[in-house]
Symmetry: C2
Subunit: 261 residues, 2 copies
């Protein structure tokens, strides 16, 4: 798994909290919209509303970057756009390679939001020889065999994985071996990478499951309108039963006694 230090120690890079970094793109988007409307300055309150956060948090976030506001006035829009872009590294060009050109890979290749902020789709890579040469979003798909060369030739340091889960780790290893140090993973797989390589994960199914959790809770609260609480959401469900967990103490419906099939 990891190569050097094991865990990764709390990543507060250069003193900017990770949580702040994750919000900077949000502020940047709101500021860009203001900039397009030629709004010259904005208060923390207004900008916070546009970005969907509270103003104290926004001011604290900006305080990590420096003192870029004017008391009694607010923030200069253009100036902030520049400072945040620079902080995020968006003033330079980032060639990106997408590996796995299925439905999702193709959707990403066509996604306009990519190009708008310094990211450039430099290569599309797929394992299917039949796809080689086919243009997707105006770019010819290349074969996995040439992955190493494609990555180095284009100076790619950010890779996007949109392969099926079974191929993800292998593709990841090859990307890393070829010099990629940041990976955006859409495959539902836990990737192992050496230390110094960043992985971010986008997992559709996880997001839906989190929503389902809250949704279920809402349904329960609703049903508990009068006097009594927590409805067991599934009385006629298929429950497994193995081993013999003796003194178990789950919060509600311990478990029915039928086996699935």
């Amino acid at each position: 798994m990891a190569t050097g230090r094991t865990h990764r120690p709390a990543t507060r890079s250069r003193g900017i909290p990770e949580a702040t970094v994750a919000r900077l793109p949000l502020y940047l988007r709101a500021l860009t919209a203001l900039s397009e409307r030629s709004v010259p300055t904005v208060s923390s309150e207004e900008l916070a509303a546009a970005a969907g956060v509270n103003s104290a948090k926004l001011r604290k976030d900006f305080s990590y970057l420096g003192s870029y506001g004017t008391r009694g006035v607010g923030y200069d829009v253009e100036y902030l756009v520049y400072q945040i872009s620079r902080e995020l590294g968006l003033t330079q060009d980032w060639p990106v390679a997408i590996v796995g050109i299925g439905n999702l890979g193709a959707a990403l290749a066509n996604y306009g939001g990519f190009a708008s902020r310094g990211f450039r789709v430099a290569a599309l890579i797929d394992a299917d020889p039949a796809m080689a040469g086919t243009p997707v979003a105006g770019i010819a798909v290349q074969h996995t065999d040439d992955l190493d060369r494609i990555i180095s030739d284009n100076g790619v340091s950010i890779g996007v994985i949109t392969t099926p889960p079974g191929a993800a780790q292998q593709v990841c290893d090859r990307l890393v071996a070829a010099g990629v140090t940041s990976i955006l993973n859409f495959a539902p797989t836990v990737l192992s990478v050496p230390d110094g390589v960043d992985v971010r994960k986008v997992d559709l199914s996880i997001e839906l499951q989190i929503l389902a959790f809250h949704e279920q809770r809402k349904a329960g609260e609703e049903a508990a309108a009068d006097g009594r609480a927590a409805v067991d959401p599934d009385s006629d469900e298929a429950p497994p039963m193995r081993a013999t967990p003796a003194g178990r103490k789950g919060p509600d419906g311990d478990m029915p006694a039928v086996m699935p099939a």
Copy 2:
């Protein structure tokens, strides 16, 4: 914007921390894989490794659900799969509607991970009349005009928005009016919803920007191999300059003196 209470108060639903809820799907996936290999029990250490978290965290997470393990042995795989599924509300069927059938919407409609865990694509909706009737992933696309009816007829409570940003808020409003109470938003927009409606956001471009931030930092550290620190990542960049922020104190490269164009 919000209807009742304004902010949303720290959402620790029924005592399970939000951070834990967000990890349950991860555990579930790892457990499902073990289950398919007919592994009967697993220790916190092993399962944690498979899910990519540390074992203390995993044990703490499970302790919020109840005492489902056996000391000296570990956790019963099937039993845990059932308990987590139930906790997440996956033992019931969740009809989902996808609005905006472009590249991304179509990719999602075709995504297998949907169906596997209680989620069923019940409807595809698009504003383009030309698309109405076209089958995508075996489901006929329906027109936005019928959105309200489609949502109620199918009992949809989870909506997925994959429209262009300009349409997202309007679609969101209509979904909510029709009875949807959970939304997964892929459009790069901050959505306003009434209280009681959950929104989760998946934003590709934000993920890339976060990666770019760390990537830039790596490049800087690398260059600072000998004696001196922090390289200014862009000396020949286009810097804006408006208003007159007097005593500014950005951490590095204050700002060159040329205007863009």
